[in-house]
């Protein structure tokens, strides 16, 4: 999933890049063993290109970064959480389509 517009973030960077970032941020919590997570990858890449400069699109590998998923009570992936000004705006769990993800992101634009 090599898109220039999607950034990979870690537990350490979460505070500065997501909660205190200038832009609203959609975080895609995923793991390499999750088929549906991989399957929505291309759609995430497309959305990152479409919303570039308006919404930050980030991915967090839940295997390498257990603290943030724990804090937000994530027990299922893919989970996508939309943040704005440090708060959760809304979230979706499951491999949904582009239309639903666009609707989600638009709640912060």
């Amino acid at each position: 999933m090599a898109s220039d517009n999607v950034i990979q973030i870690s537990d350490n960077e979460f505070e500065s890049k997501v909660l205190q970032g200038d832009l609203p941020c959609l975080v895609d919590f995923w793991a390499p063993w999750c088929g549906p997570c991989k399957a929505i990858g291309p759609v995430i890449d497309e959305l990152a290109a479409e919303f570039a400069g308006r919404v930050l699109i980030a991915k967090m590998n839940v295997d390498d970064n257990p603290a943030t998923p724990g804090k937000y009570g994530i027990r299922a992936i893919p989970t996508l959480i939309l943040f704005k000004n440090g708060d959760v705006v809304d979230q979706i769990t499951g491999a949904v389509g582009k239309t639903q993800l666009t609707e989600l992101i638009n709640k912060a634009v």
Binding site: G35, A39, V43, R75, A76, T93, A95, V96, G97, T99
Partner: protein, 312 residues
Amino acid sequence: MDKADYQLVIIGGGPAGLTAGLYAARARLNTVLVEKAALGGQVLITHWVDNYPGVVDGAAGYDLIETWTAHARRFGLETRSVNVVSLDLKDSIKILHLENGDRITARAVIICTGGSPGKLNVPGEKEFTGKGVSYCATCDGPFYKGREIAVVGGGNTAIQEAVHLTRFAAKVTVIHRREELRATKVVQEKAFADERIEFILNAEVEEILGGSDGVEGLRLRHRDGSASSLAVTGVFILIGVVPNNEILPRGALELDEYGFIITDTEMRTALPGVFAAGDIRSKNFRQIVTAAGEGATAELSAEHYLANMNEQ
């Protein structure tokens, strides 16, 4: 006759749809496959596929279906990520109405909308979905390392995934409403041999209990009328499929009592030019290999239909 956008449109990108798409692309039909979520369908939430012929060592669901997508694309199959909200199927030009207000028209349609995991419809199920209630063992299993969890169901999917979940969970309790499991013997033997799996038979889940942190337990009702509770932090509900039939026009197609589409052996529905394949079809067995076979049959029937149409 008015012009349609495509000769053939395939709705749904699981095993049936991808196979129909592969055949249509090879037949050089002007075709589009539309999918609302991710290509691959329910195979994406299947941890391991061990019975697909030719895949000798088995494969992860995602890895298997990714090769199907690549195979169909090799012949130039066009796919679109759109959400269909309704269908007009009665006339010779079929119309798909999309969520964004656009429409797609075609001479023939193959419906491969598949099924979704069945729900228990008990209190707590909706509330705790994603917070301990799961329909996908391969997605959510690793969140239960060292925990005690439950699997509801007695078919192949339930028992196979119960075995898979013992990689993470300290204990897996299988809850099944009948005396005997429905799963294939090979699958049953594996589960019975695993000491981390326990069975509660002749019992149904009456309520999923929990708090602000998610699921904390289940309330069970046994066949003899008694009740009990089971402390678990996760429950995987794997009780079969319900049809994805929301977009089908009411009364236009013949459906069975559960809402699956009735076709003949050539995958033809009650409407000319409309075919169905895969889990959305009314049938007894839902396997990847049967979906693939039906997808191929549906496409060949559609080709035949289109050829006859041109002769008129």
